[in-house]
């Protein structure tokens, strides 16, 4: 029965692992466009353009082949941006259209680009060599493949980042831990012509620096959290400073507002502080440490980039306008793995601290972050010893036979071995939110819960833990969830549980044995003694393989038949990472410690597919929606999260190209008005602005046309722009004719509206009975024209 695994099974060599999303949007500084409509965020190899109104991603600037490190305004064209990347190029973009206009090559990877509005042909880049960090000046002229001459302006041993270089009108500063340099006349300055301000060696090191946009002032943020406001910078002898101290931990980022009237600062506390001449204002509890701060040109908006991969857009009144969230799975591990929620068809994993992240992997979209632990983020007192956080360790979902959507979460503070809670949730359809039904504190005596499994149809949940017990929990309508039974076997630690497809058999792994019990009657059915080493994971097969139980141990993979209680096959593996079941087919995926993915069926020991993904896979799951060109994922797709918190899947070569070049359609960020609906390409009815308590009405195209006719001509967009669509809108659409009842209501609403132009309401009664649609649609139009005259 025992056979050696064949490593060189024919695998689909044509398959590639492609990244589908999940890069950090906070690693590098983001940039407001001049009109403050968009925020440009470097995110992996692309730049994402977010609307500052809605927080939606409107555009992706795709073209760089390596990490984008910085975005800068084009010195003269407001609608263009320049990016630098580690692929040793800078690129010029039209960010509204998402088109790369031009590219300029360098010799070494670039870590920053700076432009000067006052001298458009001069620009700076940051280069990094082995020993040195160099700030170089070059002539900004696109159209050539490679830049001619790069002149090193400043070099330093210390890392030059966007936090330690600040440009202003007529000068720029470069900060080092114990000193900072001021360079006047940036377009002409030489390395020699600098003014150096040194700190006493005992004084706290500089972490970040910002310049006043107009005056010769700057502010430095220090390691101990103090801010120093420096004046008289050009004089190396007589420079003065005053100290302000609020942050208790190092100040991470600083920025002047564009008018220069105030400074905003942020740090590990997660509090944004605004310093003005009369004092300071706070915006507390932004979620996690502030990494980057950006201010907009019109003095209205600030953006704070947080450690949890989110950006808050904050107004000048210190209120959070919107939050842009990247893939907010943070930290180095995903204790609860990647889970598939059957109802929303999304992937669920650990999000922000204490949150669960619901995520659509196929279009890299976040559904929401659900607060499970419900604790305030507390910054650590000491950065060396971070505060242990209670983490969500397990999560499970089920849609029961009577269509209730249930979720169970287990949370645990592993460092302190305390705060273990099992929380049972139910999705409330009327309020569209998750309601907490039951909290069970310390269900397993504060020992690590190893698995949490739901019965496939009933409100019955099984938890196993290292304390050696497997507990079943049932939902009582009156009293919530309560423990129904406790099972143990020779005080072996219980490592996993799995229900058969119909829910009639529950398999529990205790040590190196598997016990099969009837979950409803709690009778012992049989015991499979399977391995010499402890079992890591067990999983029942599906459909034609529903009688097979796949057992994974440290160094082998086995398939057992539950009916005959005998082993079907066994293969040796090179270390076990985890096993994933595909809920849509009878496939399973097994990932070993050498990062090789094996896709197999429980009935066959020969895998369907084997490939080394060459990255550490933290979690994986199958998601509905398949890839027709790959036989084993016709119904579902395997998504994997790497230790870099990026999401990957398998695709053929052609598909992988398509995926990387895909650009999202531009979403309008303007409010949805009738004119906007006419201008927009989709001619569907426009939703009214929804307000709580106000029923949503549909405005139809007819009404939109009506408004266009009634609006004064000088407020309309240029006629050539709307002419074609306007005429097209008047043409009959075959599909709309039948929706007469909907039209009626819309028109009736229209008649009650007060009209600014004193136009008589359109009479709509007569046409409603008219059976001929052709006559129908133009009656009202001619009438409107007549009324206008």
């Amino acid at each position: 029965m025992k056979k050696k695994k064949q490593c060189d099974v024919e695998s689909d060599v044509s398959l590639y692992v492609t990244e589908t999303g999940g890069s950090s949007i906070v690693r590098f500084k983001s940039l407001f466009t001049i009109d403050s409509k968009y925020l440009l965020c470097p995110c992996g190899n692309v730049v994402k353009v977010y609307s500052t109104n809605t927080g939606e991603c409107c555009q992706k600037l795709v073209g760089h082949t390596d990490t984008v490190t910085m975005v800068a305004h084009h010195p003269s064209n407001k609608l263009q941006a320049i990016t630098s990347s580690t692929d040793a190029t800078i690129k010029l973009w039209d960010y509204e259209d998402g088109v790369a206009l031009s590219s300029l090559g360098f010799n070494t990877p670039l870590y920053g680009v700076y432009t000067l509005p006052q001298s458009p042909t001069t620009a700076f880049v940051v280069q990094r060599t082995d020993k040195q960090n160099e700030l170089c000046r070059f002539k900004l002229e696109f159209g050539k493949p490679k830049v001619d001459d790069v002149e090193v302006v400043a070099n330093t041993m210390d890392k030059l980042t966007d936090k330690t270089i600040a440009f202003s009108k007529g000068y720029f500063v470069v900060a080092q831990p114990k000193s900072f340099l001021v360079f006047c006349k940036p377009d002409k300055v030489k390395w020699k012509n600098r003014v150096r301000h040194d700190l006493n060696p005992k004084e706290p090191a500089i972490r970040c620096i910002a310049c006043h946009p107009k005056l010769e002032q700057c502010v430095t943020g220090h390691e101990n959290g103090e801010l120093r406001f420096w004046y008289n910078l050009s004089d190396s002898e007589n420079a003065t400073f005053n100290v302000q101290h609020w942050h208790s931990l190092p100040a991470l980022s600083l920025s002047y507002t564009s008018s220069g009237s105030s400074v905003i600062s942020g740090g590990h506390e997660g509090v944004m502080v605004q310093w003005t001449s009369d004092g300071k204002q706070f915006l507390p509890r932004l979620g996690s440490a502030i990494q980057q701060l950006t201010t907009s040109n019109d003095n209205q908006l600030y953006a704070t980039s947080h450690n949890d991969n989110s950006i808050c857009i904050i107004t000048s009144y210190m209120t959070v306008r919107t939050t842009i969230e990247g893939f907010t799975a943070t930290g180095q591990s995903l204790p609860c793995g990647l889970n598939y929620d059957p109802k929303t068809q999304s992937c669920v994993t650990n999000g922000k601290a204490g949150h669960l992240l619901f995520y659509y992997p196929d279009n890299d979209e976040q559904l929401y972050n659900l607060d499970i632990v419900s604790r305030n983020y507390i910054s650590p007192v000491d950065l060396e010893k971070s505060l242990p956080h209670t983490k969500i360790t397990k999560v499970g979902f089920v849609v029961t036979a009577n269509n209730e959507h249930l979720m169970a979460t287990a949370e645990y503070d592993k460092e302190n071995m305390t705060d273990q809670k099992l929380k049972m949730w139910k999705f409330d359809e009327s309020y569209k939110e998750w309601c907490l039904i039951t909290v069970i504190s310390s269900p397993h005596d504060n020992r690590n819960i190893t698995s949490l499994t739901f019965h496939p149809t009933n409100a019955l949940c099984v938890t196993t833990a290292e304390d050696g017990y497997a507990k079943t929990w049932i939902l009582d309508d009156n009293e919530g969830w309560c423990c129904e039974s406790t099972t143990s076997y020779r005080s072996y630690a219980s490592s996993d549980s799995s229900f058969s497809q119909d829910g009639s058999v529950l398999a529990l792994a205790f040590g190196h044995t598997v016990s099969l019990i009837d979950p409803l009657l709690l009778d012992d059915l049989s015991l499979l003694v399977s391995a010499t080493t402890n079992i890591k994971q067990i999983e029942f097969g599906q459909d034609s393989n529903c009688h097979l139980l796949v057992v994974a141990t440290e160094n082998s993979l086995q398939s057992w038949s539950v009916i005959t209680s005998s082993m079907i096959w066994l293969i040796d593996t090179s270390g076990f990472d985890f096993l994933v079941k595909d809920p849509f087919s009878d496939n399973m995926a097994f990932i070993d410690t050498r990062h090789t993915v094996h896709v197999f069926q429980p009935s066959e020991e020969k895998p369907l597919f084997t490939q080394n993904v060459k990255m550490e896979v933290l979690a994986a799951c199958f998601v509905q929606g398949g890839n027709d060109e790959i036989t084993w994922c016709a119904k579902s797709q395997l998504y994997m999260i790497s230790n870099q918190m990026t999401v990957h899947k398998f695709a053929t070569k052609e598909q992988s190209k398509v995926v990387s070049n895909r650009a999202l359609p531009v979403a309008t960020d303007t409010l949805k008005t009738p004119i906007a609906s006419l201008l927009s390409t989709n001619k569907e009815a426009v939703d009214d602005i929804t307000m709580p308590g106000v029923p949503i009405r549909n405005r139809t195209l007819q009404e939109a046309v009506q408004v266009v006719l009634e609006t004064k001509s000088h407020v309309l967009p240029p006629i050539p722009k709307i002419c074609q669509q306007f005429v097209a809108a008047l043409l009959l659409d075959g599909t709309n004719i039948n929706e007469e009842s909907e039209d009626t209501t819309a028109m009736e609403v229209c008649t009650t509206e007060p009209s600014t132009l004193n136009v008589k309401p359109v009479k709509t009664g007569l046409k409603r009975n008219d059976p001929d649609p052709d006559v129908d649609d133009f009656d009202w139009l001619t009438e409107s024209f007549a009324n206008l005259k």
């Binding site: 915006l283 507390p284 509890r285 932004l286 979620g287 808050c312 959070v320 939050t323 607060d371 419900s374 604790r375 305030n376 507390i378 650590p380 007192v381 505060l387 209670t390 503070d413 302190n416 305390t418 705060d419 909290v439 504190s441 310390s442 504060n446 009156n478 009293e479 309560c482 009214d688 307000m691 709580p692 308590g693 106000v694």
Partner: protein, 501 residues
């Protein structure tokens, strides 16, 4: 998103008791009304028709109680000696009772004087019941005989002499006119046929039989005697179906609930147990103060009357209005009160109105306000004030837990002197033995001892006294743990051996 999340206190988990339907049903009986009688209450029976009075036989009288007022409406006292087993006819108009003086007396419920007196028994008569045809009644006596009487002529129609000891219980089959079942102290239950004058079935119960019952179908006989109730099938010639023994003293009475789905049994061990007749499992238990001799359930289970040996009669009524109605009433009241507060809540804005959300100030508890400002020591003080720490210790524990999480527990525990330390120590003494608080409080104790270690010699007397008390509590708790572990071990031994067998 920047809202402060207040500290969550996990409410104390009470021992999970399964509230079954039966539990809720029988729990809804109100607190008993106790009436003192003249002697031991040997029999209670409800009038089968309106107004459902109940007849209580105690000492030398039979009293008719009103279910509504719980007071005596009529007394039949024309007995020369102790009366026994007063019973109603099915139309509720006639009442019959036995007597110590061997005579059986028949009364009109409206009247006072006996209508008929049946003479013939030679020993006291304990059981009297009407037959189904309304024209006859039967009586069972200590003279070991059972007689059937004709009401109109006062003549004995049948005399059954099968029993060999006192006959103390009996019942009529509602399914057939001619069947009488009696139980006697000779350990037997006998079924007699009035047509053939014969003893058709004899069953040996094994103990003196105190009570017999027949299911309405007439085929299943229940007999109670000793500590057990036995169920017999009459159609199979008296085959034993099951034995139920849940009492630890003699069972004296049995009755069905109104629809015969539950069986109630009363015993000298002062319990009434309620069984599901489908599986004869106990579904509920009601405790009484005295040894129970008799019991009756009114139609619709509205009233449970129990007579006891210590001359007490307990009357329990079901709660009249159910909870939901009460709640609705309360809601209605509060609605009226809050009418002024609700003004404008249902306002629907116009289409063009810009809705500005009212900025609601978040209400926080005192300790949360301090937590928000990172004033941890003050937060602990706020959680230790008397009304928080005594009424809801779980909040104080949650605050301590939060301090541990924030890693500021040392700082907030140190530097406590005088009253602040006393309050904390008292709280620890009171709650450290609570299982759900113990993990947190033990940690706090440890840290507190660490911080007080240097100054422990010159603390005030009160504080050192409290430390000693805490030590004593811990000591007794550890002894208790040892005992519990021993008990658990021996229980495991018993359980595992019983599983093997």
């Amino acid at each position: 998103s920047s809202r402060y999340k207040s500290t969550e206190a996990v409410p104390i988990a009470t021992a999970a008791r399964k509230h079954t339907q039966d539990y809720n049903y029988w729990r809804s009986l109100q607190f008993p009304i106790i009436v003192k009688e003249y002697g031991a209450v040997t029999n209670v029976e409800f009038q089968p028709t309106e107004p459902h009075h109940f007849a209580v036989t105690a000492s030398s009288r039979v009293e008719l109680y009103s279910k509504e007022s719980n007071e005596v409406v009529k007394t039949f006292s024309r007995f020369h000696n102790t009366a026994y087993g007063a019973s109603f006819r099915s139309d509720g108009k006639l009442l019959v009772a036995g007597n110590e003086d061997t005579q059986v007396r028949l009364f009109d419920v409206q009247g006072r004087v006996p209508l008929r007196i049946f003479k013939g028994h030679s020993r006291p008569v304990h059981v009297t019941k009407f037959c189904n045809n309304k024209q006859q009644l039967f009586s069972a006596s200590d003279d070991k005989t059972v007689r059937v009487w004709d009401i109109s002529t006062e003549q004995t129609l049948n005399e059954f002499c099968g029993h060999e000891d006192y006959v103390r219980c009996g019942c009529i089959s509602t399914a057939s006119e001619n069947t009488i079942v009696t139980g006697a102290y000779d350990h037997t239950v006998r079924m007699f046929d009035t047509r053939s004058n014969a003893n058709t079935i004899t069953i040996n119960h094994g103990c003196p039989v105190e009570s017999v019952l027949l299911f309405p179908s007439g085929s299943i006989i229940l007999s109670a005697g000793g500590h057990s109730i036995k169920v017999w099938d009459a159609l199979q010639g008296g085959k034993l179906l099951t034995t139920v023994s849940n009492h630890h003293k003699t069972i004296t009475c049995m009755t069905f609930n109104h629809d015969c789905t539950r069986l109630l049994s009363g015993s000298l061990d002062r319990h009434v147990k309620i069984y599901d007749v489908t599986n004869y499992k106990v579904v509920h238990n009601i405790d009484y103060a005295g040894s129970i001799l008799s019991m009756a359930v009114s139609p619709n289970d509205e009233t449970l009357v129990v007579g006891m040996a210590d001359k007490m009669l307990s009357i329990r009524h079901r709660k009249q209005c159910n909870k939901e109605e009460m709640k609705e009433e309360n809601l209605h009241l509060s609605k009226r009160k809050q009418k002024s507060m609700m003004r404008g809540r249902n306002f629907v804005p116009n289409k063009d109105d810009i809705v500005v959300q009212h900025h609601q100030k978040q209400h926080l508890a005192k300790y949360d306000q301090y937590f928000r400002k990172f004033e941890h020591s003050k937060a602990l003080d706020a959680a230790l004030v008397a009304h928080v720490s005594t009424n809801s210790p779980e909040i104080t524990v949650a605050v301590l837990q939060e301090l541990i999480r924030r890693d500021t527990i040392r700082a907030s525990l140190s530097g406590r002197t005088g009253n602040k330390l006393v309050v904390l120590l008292k709280f620890l003494c009171r709650n450290i033995s609570n299982v759900s608080f113990a993990p947190t409080l033990l940690k706090v104790c440890e840290l507190l001892l660490d911080s007080c270690l240097e100054t422990i010699e010159n603390v005030p007397v009160e504080v050192s006294h409290l430390f000693k008390r805490l030590q004593n509590i811990m000591h007794s708790e550890s002894l208790l743990q040892v005992e519990m572990t021993k008990l658990l071990g021996s229980m495991d031994l018993i359980l595992s051996s019983s599983i093997k067998n």
